[in-house]
Symmetry: C2
């Protein structure tokens, strides 16, 4: 049995997955920040899920976590107050089984793909992108059933493609990056109010007719539509699954993104032929794609443990 | 021995390739337009190369040609005055061997990859993009050593990604597509003079200090840089090989594109980390990548003829 752990900025989730890739147990806890806090969160989440009924002996564990991943080390995970930690090494020593550490977006992409294939087996061989709308924007690509890593770790970083040289400044040094229009942190900063759920507050204000909110919501939709467009004209995924914190808005997000894609396509026979609105799907808000994908990134017991 | 044919708007090239993938003979002739003209061009090019010394019995033929490809049929190849023709079927009947028809950019991508691997064997497993700067702009992707087809034929169509909502109108119905800044047809139209080689004329005028030419040349470089940027942040190719008619400008093009990439990176530590200028290479002007790739798209005799 494999364990998968998804460590987010506020919550961590752990699942136990059987050899057929089915989730047999699931637990959630809050995330502690800093290097020691993250290690404690991971160890504790594993212990909690291992104690669940039906969870047998553990053969491996995977972790999905924000930041740069170098082997089992995690670097520069700003949202977790983390500069560097040997998460893989620490967990291997604690658990005595192989541990694989993966970028959180890539892990969620694997999990979203597995979920899609469980519902529609024909999706197994079709290319899929997972578009994560969180603090920032990035995509994970599953091509030929496997995570696409690119040549050096920049695959799927669509958030920093500029779509408007006159757009807002991006902390990356460019202007008009997709992330400045649709990244949670950028939108929240531009909205400037809203407490713990600024994007929800923005959507509420837009629904109430606030012109600033309407404009920002339109730009958010435009940014997501551009990311879908860019992915389609490069990798050409059959399905683009949208997830992440902002995607928890569910139908309220789906509605404005679909409208933006339809409006974009109405201007162009070429864009209409791409069937952009038909490519997108939203990850359900209660999905465990991140933790599931982290577990699936670890070889199952009946497979040889290659490439680690 | 396999034959590869590259049919361009003005010239067609045919090569004979041995089982090791080496070119053993090469011929060129002018392209005739229209359905009958294209069929005659292809048959004639095969006959010419087959008569070259050292060319043995032919086991298959591949054709790279602009337009949409549907099985062996070619649709809407505007530059060839062609609405629809069963090029694959016609050649199979004429030659009595299997014929594979491929989009010209994809064929050139395969040929560019094979050329790269012949020079640097370590490139075999690294992702590569071939960026074609011709009348329009499109890329062919070689991932894990194979042509990446995407889910429905829009993979690599980076020419119609908009990078500026205030940019020039594109015939596709959008504004500010990469192709409006850097596509040969669009640049020639905006330049408005220059006879048979308008882009070369534009570069000459820019070198002579003409401000309109300098502005258009800068925009061309900006468009190519954006395509390199977009490919890097989606597919993340180790190498982006630039070819096509506009790339025949050689070092004159390389210089302005490298400058645009360096300038872009100077604004951003993130972009600097992508090492964009180091990723690009120019296809030599006399390269037979298109014809070579068309031949390589056909299975060699010692391989089972799968997937046709």
């Amino acid at each position: 049995m494999r364990i998968g752990i998804d460590i987010g900025g506020t919550k961590a989730e752990a699942v136990a997955v059987d050899d057929a890739g089915r989730i047999v147990a699931r637990v959630r806890r809050s995330t502690e920040h800093g290097a020691e806090g993250v290690l404690r969160t991971a160890r504790d989440a594993v212990a909690l899920v291992a104690a669940e009924p039906g969870v047998g002996s553990i053969t491996g564990a995977g972790v999905g976590i924000p930041g740069q991943i170098l082997g089992g080390r995690v670097l520069n995970a700003v949202n977790l107050g983390l500069t560097e930690v040997d998460l893989g090494g620490d967990l291997e020593r604690a658990l005595g089984v192989p541990v694989h550490v993966e970028n959180d977006v890539n892990a969620a992409a694997l999990g979203a793909h597995a979920t899609l294939v469980a519902e529609r087996p024909a999706a197994a061989d079709r290319p899929m992108a997972y578009l994560n709308l969180g603090t920032g924007i990035a995509a994970g690509l599953v091509l030929d059933g496997r995570l696409w890593g690119g040549s050096g770790g920049t695959a799927g970083e669509v958030g920093h493609i500029s779509i408007d040289p006159a757009g807002p400044e991006c902390p990356c040094g460019q202007r008009g990056c997709i992330e400045t229009f649709a990244g949670g942190a950028s939108v929240a900063r531009r909205w400037g109010r809203g407490g713990e759920l600024p994007i929800r507050d923005l959507f509420d204000a837009a629904d109430a007719g606030d012109p600033d909110a309407l404009a920002l919501r339109d730009e958010l939709a435009r940014g997501v539509a551009a990311a879908v467009h860019v992915l389609t004209l490069t990798v050409d995924p059959a399905v683009i699954v949208i997830g992440g914190g902002v995607a928890r808005l569910g139908d309220r997000l789906r509605g404005i993104v679909r409208s933006a894609l339809v409006e974009r396509s109405a201007r162009s026979i070429f864009l209409t032929s791409l069937a952009l609105p038909e490519r997108i799907e939203l990850l359900p808000p209660d999905s465990s794609a991140g933790a599931l994908g982290a577990a699936l990134a670890v070889p199952a017991t009946h497979e040889p443990a290659l490439g680690r």
